[in-house]
């Protein structure tokens, strides 16, 4: 195998490595489908994590006497219309 052949073979192998695993043409790819399925896959873990967090806050609140904070508004005070 001459030098030129060797270069050709190496180039083909490199090209094959670069293209394997690339997604097919983008026009019919819907990232929304992947986002949807992804949520279903991680949904259980997220639900469990959230339940533990809420449970932990309740335990802490028993000792500190503070009401468990509302997850929608803490640290990000929303303005009420009374002061608009």
């Amino acid at each position: 195998m001459g030098n030129r052949d060797r270069i050709f073979v190496v180039a083909m192998v490199v090209l094959a490595c670069l293209t394997i695993g690339l997604p097919s043409a983008g026009a019919y790819i819907d990232p929304g489908a992947g986002s949807f399925i992804f949520q279903a896959v991680v949904g259980g873990v997220l639900a469990a994590g959230f339940a533990i967090k809420v449970f932990w806050r309740r335990i802490v609140s028993v000792f500190t006497g503070k009401r468990p904070s509302d997850t929608t508004t803490d640290e990000h005070p929303t303005r009420t219309t009374s002061d608009v």
Partner: protein
């Protein structure tokens, strides 16, 4: 009946054509939102469940009322009249904290919607606008009955909010400008490639950006299988998802970096207290004289002079090219509860273009004007000498932005101009007081000319011809 644009009464507002639920139109100078018949059930639930009222009370959506005016097309169920936003701005013009607050308000609204059995169909950053100093969701037709399964707006939320915030926080604040190129948010695979390795390993970003992007690539053609996954995502999963997104966004620190401009007024070696005070009093008397309904401050830095207008209750937009200066101005306005000041990132040498479908979805800066009064303080020498823009062209562009112009002339003997000229040839023979007044007089007439104390600078008040 599907409404068609052909039988439209009034003017549809650009960028409001994708949603079958309704659209925004302008009639007799007033802004309305039409609710289409197809959205009747969802709109009724939005009102009857108390969600509309609660979100308005919490000031997280734009206030609106139902009105009895002619609908713009057939197929209308109701017509709403929303409070009008003083100045429409876009995510690529926001600083880090502005985008972060917009993200958090979107999550808040979604969480409250869940309490009322509803859910946001979209989580586009363009659905948020700054109203009286705070971000509010403006798309009142984005609420659907919750149903079951994953959140359809999750991809959009990650691309519109999480991706740019993560890149600005962990890589470089300038990457926020990618939103200008990617109108539907920064693609997550691109974000994953641009994040620093350490950021990719942070649990929140590893999940919502890196693994999410991988899933998009892997399942991009699995749309038909989506139904089989629907049952695997409960309301608790959605609560967990929202909580996780909120945590990761809160954990992203505002970017810090060297900014030549942010400390401009602090160092202030080029301004004596005298000069500043005299400039302030001149601007104040210009404001008295013009009594503008809107003010734009170009090259506003941290909005020091813009505040002279905003403290009078005049809706004031403070533009600057430096994202750190805009960030400082926003954080300070938020702390002071200044409801009339909107700081925005804008490079005047390359201002926000018209983008989107037919180049008509998002407006240029000029499209959003003109303002009653434009402030252009210590700016023209940067454009004329720093960027080689001829004075006459500067004058014409400023005339397209406002009816009145307050402009500062910084002559060549000023320390700042000497600094600009130190690194380039002086190819600006017309940059003199006479040349400046001559160039401006093509578009304006001079109303007043005031010297700035303890300096050789001049302030002009000009009226557009």
């Amino acid at each position: 009946v599907t409404p068609s644009p052909e039988d439209l009464v009034g003017e549809p507002v650009a960028g409001s054509f994708r949603d079958p639920a309704g659209f925004v139109f302008r009639s007799g100078g007033v802004l309305y939102r039409q609710v289409n018949e197809v959205h009747r059930d969802a709109y009724d639930q939005f009102v009857a469940s108390g969600l509309a009222q609660r979100l308005q009370a919490e000031a997280t959506i734009i206030p609106f009322e139902e009105v009895d005016v002619e609908a713009a097309t057939v197929g209308a169920y109701k017509v709403l009249r929303p409070h009008e936003i003083d100045f429409v701005s876009y995510p690529y013009e926001w600083s880090f904290s502005q985008l972060r607050d917009a993200a958090l308000v979107t999550l808040d609204v979604q969480s409250v919607a869940l309490d009322h059995g509803m859910s946001l169909r979209d989580a586009s950053a363009y659905n948020v606008q700054f109203h009286q100093g705070r971000p509010v969701v403006i798309d009142t037709l984005s609420f659907d009955a919750r149903g079951e399964g994953p959140w359809p707006a999750y991809r959009q939320f990650c691309s519109h909010f999480l991706a740019p915030l993560a890149l600005m926080s962990t890589r470089d604040v300038r990457l926020g400008q990618l939103l200008r190129e990617h109108i539907d948010g920064i693609p997550l695979d691109l974000t994953a490639r641009l994040l620093p390795r350490r950021a990719r390993l942070r649990p929140g970003l590893a999940m919502h950006v890196v693994a999410h992007a991988r899933s998009q690539r892997r399942h991009g053609s699995d749309g038909e299988q989506m139904e089989t996954y629907r049952k695997r995502f409960s309301d608790s999963s959605l609560r967990g998802l929202l909580d996780s997104l909120r945590s990761v966004i809160r954990s992203l620190a505002a970017p810090r970096g060297d900014s030549a401009w942010r400390d401009y007024y602090d160092e202030a070696s080029h301004y004596s207290d005298d000069a500043s005070a005299s400039k302030e009093s001149a601007i104040d008397s210009f404001l008295d004289q013009v009594a503008p309904a809107t003010v734009w401050d170009l090259g506003a830095n941290t909005a020091r002079f813009s505040r002279l207008a905003s403290r009078r209750g005049i809706p004031t937009v403070a533009f600057d090219l430096d994202p750190y200066a805009v960030e400082a101005a926003y954080v300070s306005a938020r702390e002071r509860d200044d409801r009339h000041l909107l700081p925005l990132v804008l490079d005047l040498t390359n201002p926000s273009p018209a983008i989107g479908w037919a180049n008509a979805e998002r407006m240029t800066i000029t499209d959003r004007g003109p303002a009653d009064l434009v402030l252009s303080l210590a700016l023209v020498h940067h454009l004329a000498i720093g960027n080689n823009v001829p004075l006459r062209m500067i004058s014409e562009y400023l005339a397209s932005l406002g009816r009145y112009l307050a402009v500062e002339f910084v002559p060549k003997d000023d320390v700042r101009v000497r600094q600009l000229l130190s690194s380039r040839d002086d190819i600006f023979p017309d940059y003199t007081r006479e040349g400046f007044e001559g160039a401006l007089s093509s578009s304006f007439e001079i109303v007043r000319r005031e010297p700035v104390a303890s300096s050789t600078r001049l302030l002009y008040l000009l009226r557009k011809r």
